[in-house]
């Protein structure tokens, strides 16, 4: 029984108001996520030709649709030339900051621009004639008449949500979350106002920096990230305000990383030069981790550096994506995956040695996505998967204690007080929250071990309700869907591959977190992107978001306009 409070008449009214506000939070969140997705889709470049190529003998016009176009006899090329003297993958015509370039990709007959051999790269300006095999092509600008317009100007302009409105709605949601956190337990606390204020300041500074100073036109991805981070930080401030401070500091570091990575990736030549160094740095970091690492709850995946404890594997995720992605001309010249397979084996092997199997499986899945997007070879993937399955089988056979983790899977209620402790608590407290939750700070799951990190999905269900929790995880799926829809419109295959693998990584990590905690999959102990308490994870997630942001063609458009 609750002690009788003097304000007994106010109590039910406050409680009803907070409940109503939670319904509002859920509905506004759904709206924001959906409007962001609509805005992302509508804001994409139309699939109209960027340039035209004129075949000099027949004067046939060939549209150039992408920023990087493969030219060759093979049907998988973007520009297919039915000419037996043309190699299967002859050359790549690509647009860079400096203008159009053509790179010969080890063709037999070579590639010539105005009669001069491209070895391997040559500049092309409109009016230049490119000779590939016995075919001559003249680069021309695309004119209105060269293609049929798909949509009228009117329908294209129709109702793209204004970035400021989306951002304001997210801010409103955060105000409502702060109200929830301040009235946790039925009386007012000012504690959560400090993290709220810090978060709001960070967000709005970043917003105006992006939109006004950098002159970017899109802010949807950041808006979704703020929505999720806001939910996470306010949940944490209801559990332990110290965690919320750490989380905000990590978010600031993450945004900084985001701001550094985007201009860094703007120059693809620079990225190409740095790839090897980044890969080596990742391997060294793993080695350092293995030697100096600190074990924490079964996995030796921490490094203590002064007062800060970091989880290197989180940062290596970013390096992994860097090392895996590649521009189209390089994909065509270096076709085998050997180097990347070796690199991946080192990374995943190190994670196994650290006994961090959850992260190892995330790396493995990301490896599969990158390997498939680069090679397209189903046979290679099948081979890799079957050897991985064999490896997993051997591990289970020789290390039976790992198999023990699986014995509880789908039987958690039989082990409610031993190995199924965490999952049963998640399910029980998640169901206790109903559709709209018990209110921030009023839950009990936060007291269960890893409640604010590995089990945080249950905490969202308990305190904010099922609707908000599902919206959160759906928004991460929507990020992945958008990335896929945007894949051919990026400025380079480097961006397509890196964004798809980063989005895949985020989505798979979400799967492991949500389904592990709720006993749909075995519990592995990984964080929920943007939400879970964990500094390294928060920083890394913003780094992964930078890949997705970079694949959006508009990200680099603004800079050109200004400069």
């Amino acid at each position: 029984m609750l002690p009788e409070l003097p304000a007994i008449h106010i109590q039910p009214i406050l409680s009803v108001v907070l409940f109503a506000l939670r319904i509002l939070i859920a509905l506004l969140s759904i709206t924001v996520v959906w409007r962001c997705f609509v805005s992302l889709r509508r804001g994409r470049r139309r699939e109209d030709p960027v340039m035209m190529l004129e075949e000099m003998s027949t004067h046939a016009k060939i549209p150039v649709l992408y920023w990087e176009n493969s030219i060759g006899r093979s049907r998988s090329c973007d520009i297919v030339l039915p000419d037996s003297t043309v190699s299967r993958d002859h050359a790549v015509l690509m647009r860079r900051e400096s203008g159009w370039l053509i790179t010969d990709t080890n063709s037999k007959a070579g590639t010539f621009v105005n009669g001069r051999k491209a070895s391997p790269t040559a500049r092309v300006t409109p009016g230049d004639v490119i000779a590939v095999g016995s075919t001559a092509l003249m680069l021309r600008r695309a004119h209105e008449g060269d293609f049929k317009k798909r949509r009228s100007l009117f329908s294209f302009q129709k109702r793209i949500p204004a970035p400021i409105r989306l951002m304001t709605t997210v801010f409103l949601i955060q105000i409502l979350l702060a109200v929830q956190a301040c009235f946790a337990g039925g009386s007012f606390h000012s504690g959560p106002l400090i993290p709220f204020g810090a978060m709001a300041a960070l967000e709005w500074v970043f917003y105006f920096y992006s939109m006004r100073i950098l002159g970017r036109v899109s802010f949807e991805l950041e808006t979704i990230a703020f929505l999720l981070s806001g939910i996470g930080i306010m949940l944490l401030s209801g559990a332990d305000v110290q965690l919320a401070y750490t989380q905000i500091a990590a978010m600031a570091a993450g945004i900084l990383l985001f701001c550094v990575m985007i201009p860094f990736m703007g120059n693809l030549d620079r990225v190409t030069k740095w790839r090897l160094a980044i890969g080596i740095a990742a391997v060294i970091l793993f080695a350092v981790n293995l030697v100096f690492g600190v074990a924490s709850h079964g996995a030796k995946n921490w490094i203590q550096a002064g007062p800060v404890r970091i989880q290197p594997s989180e940062f290596i995720k970013i390096a992994f994506v860097f090392a895996g992605a590649s521009t189209l001309d390089r994909l065509q010249t270096a076709k085998n995956l050997t180097e990347f397979i070796g690199f991946s084996a080192l990374c995943i092997g190190s994670l196994f040695l650290m006994r961090d199997f959850g992260t190892a499986s995330i790396f493995f899945l990301t490896f599969l996505i990158i390997a498939f997007m680069r090679s397209g070879s189903v046979r290679t993937i099948a081979l890799i998967c079957s050897s991985a399955a064999l490896g997993a089988f051997m591990i289970l056979k020789f290390m039976p204690y790992i198999a023990d983790r699986f014995s509880v899977w789908r039987h958690v209620w039989e082990y409610a007080d031993s190995t199924g402790y965490q999952q049963t608590r998640v399910l029980s407290y998640a169901a206790s929250g109903g559709l709209f939750g018990t209110g921030i700070g009023n839950g009990y799951l936060k007291n269960v071990f890893a409640g604010t990190s590995d089990l945080v999905f249950g905490m969202i269900c308990e305190e904010l309700g099922l609707v908000a929790a599902v919206t959160v995880v759906m928004s991460i799926m929507i990020l992945a869907l958008y990335t896929r829809l945007d894949a051919t419109r990026s400025r380079s295959t480097f961006y397509s591959i890196s964004s798809c693998s980063a989005a895949g990584m985020l989505l798979f990590q979400t799967c492991l977190n949500v389904f592990g905690a709720t006993d749909v999959l075995p519990l592995t102990g990984v964080t929920l992107p943007f939400i879970s308490a964990g500094g390294s994870s928060m920083v890394a997630v913003w780094g992964l978001l930078a890949f997705i942001k970079a694949s959006d063609e508009r990200t680099y458009a603004a800079r050109r306009r200004n400069g």
Partner: protein, 459 residues
């Protein structure tokens, strides 16, 4: 670029996997959310068990059978009522899985899908459940069972409301004995024998054999059988309680002559007997307010000829469930179609909304209309000619007793099943007393008492 872009469709696979997993979770949340939430470790339910915020349980007359106060679950002050209602109400620990405190624990504990275990108005309280049972009637049945174990059930065959449902052995839920797990006296104390047990039926099964005979043998009423105390089939003796001499079908049932019915079963054969038993609800589990009942069994697929004879008089491997028998009586009384018996009257949430209301629902036909009329007539004759109408004064009861041999050196189980054919007292009953010996003297005593009291209280 196009090729690389199209390969990014692997993300769809991942998204499909994600959605599939989410559906698994949401399915569980939707259909098992109550079970997930109602755990003793859940701190949204403070106190010593998951019932500490649970609602009240009333009988049909508003008698409080269980309630929660100051974090404790309290039961009725009368110990005999507590014991008599135990299996329907359930125990505090939730060991009696068929009790409403367990099977309706999520509603009782205040769980609902929309708000989980919280109520926006701040004070979590569970739903109240009103049973259709009459605690006074149950107490009578419990008292009359005395030191015997068994099951007694009575229902209104017009409305479907169960008025009496008592099972023994049991315990006092307010004072759970310490030696409950070790003392053999309490073996099966958590089992509601009305719903979850099946007993050898003995002679009450002759009603099934009778129905098969009425439907398949045109000259059944004009036949004469001869009982010399036993017959020998395949070198195996089937015995009767006494030598009835020349006897017809009608008297055969009234005197419960084994020879008549063993011969009929063998003459009808496995197929017709099995068809009749299945039609009457054997080999089928029923749902009583969402609780699956134990099946009655009639299986002669591996029976020899003499086994078939024994099966026709309710021995061999035959088993019957008291709830099913009561329902069969209701079916015969109603012209062949039973009203499904239920015991949850209504469930009312703390803000007064009724979320479940029991109502009369017809079950599948169990007996042909003409057969039901014939059985009713013969069962009435059983009472007037043999058992004596003084057992049920003024109620025009139609009934059949049974004395089922169970072997193992135990005394037979006594059965009595029947119903009042008077539309003013539409009650049907099934009573079984373990090792009670003769059905008429053991089960009959209880049937007589509860029918009389039900009739009196129903006025």
């Amino acid at each position: 670029m196009r090729t690389t872009g199209s390969r990014s469709a692997v993300l769809y696979l991942l998204a499909i996997g994600f959605l599939a997993g989410l559906c698994v979770f949401l399915y569980g949340f939707l259909f098992q959310g109550g079970d997930w939430a109602m755990q003793s470790f859940n701190r949204h339910l403070t106190g010593d068990s998951q019932l500490t915020a649970a609602g009240k349980i009333y009988d049909r007359n508003g008698v409080v059978l269980a309630k929660s106060e100051n974090g404790k679950r309290l039961y009725n002050s009368d110990e005999e009522i507590r014991r008599a209602m135990l299996h329907t109400v359930g125990d505090t620990n939730g060991y009696i899985s068929t009790g409403v405190q367990y099977s309706y624990r999520s509603q009782m504990g205040g769980y609902n899908l929309l708000t989980g275990l919280t109520v926006p108005t701040g004070k979590p309280t569970g739903s109240d459940i009103t049973l259709t049972l009459d605690s006074a009637l149950c107490k009578t049945a419990y008292e009359k069972m005395g030191g015997y174990n068994g099951a007694a059930a009575l229902y209104n065959y017009k409305t479907g409301q169960i008025l009496c449902m008592v099972s023994k052995p049991g315990i006092d839920p307010a004072n759970v004995p310490k030696d409950i797990d070790t003392n053999p006296k309490y073996e099966g104390a958590y089992l509601n024998r009305v719903l979850s047990s099946s007993y050898t039926p003995g002679s009450i099964f002759k009603l099934v054999t009778s129905a098969a005979a009425i439907e398949n043998i045109p000259d059944i009423y004009s036949r004469t059988f001869h009982c010399s105390g036993s017959i020998t089939v395949n070198g195996n003796k089937i015995t009767c309680t006494e030598a009835h001499g020349d006897i017809n079908f009608r008297d055969g049932l009234a005197k419960s002559c084994n020879i008549v019915f063993a011969e009929l079963a063998m003459e009808l054969g496995k197929d017709k007997m099995t068809a009749e038993a299945n039609q009457m609800g054997f080999n089928n589990a029923y749902q009583a307010d969402g609780i699956k009942t134990a099946k009655s069994i009639y299986d002669v697929s591996k029976a020899e000829e003499n086994d078939l004879g024994w099966s026709g008089i309710g021995q061999y491997t035959d088993l019957t469930n008291p709830y099913h028998m009561m329902m069969l009586m209701g079916a015969i009384a109603n012209g062949g179609v039973p009203v499904q018996p239920y015991f949850i009257g209504d469930i009312k949430t703390s803000f007064g909304l009724s979320v479940k209301k029991g109502e009369a629902k017809d079950g599948a036909r169990m007996v042909k209309e003409s057969t039901a009329a014939a059985l009713k007539d013969m069962m009435r004759y059983n009472v007037t000619s043999d058992y004596g109408d003084s057992m049920f004064p003024g109620l025009k009861v139609c009934a059949k007793t049974g004395t089922a041999e169970v072997g193992g050196g135990k005394k037979p189980n006594g059965w009595m099943v029947g119903f009042s054919s008077d539309p003013k007292t539409p009650y049907a009953f099934a009573v079984v007393i373990e090792q009670g010996n003769y059905g008429r003297t053991s089960a009959g005593k209880i049937a007589s008492a509860i029918m009389a009291q039900a009739a009196k209280r129903g006025k």
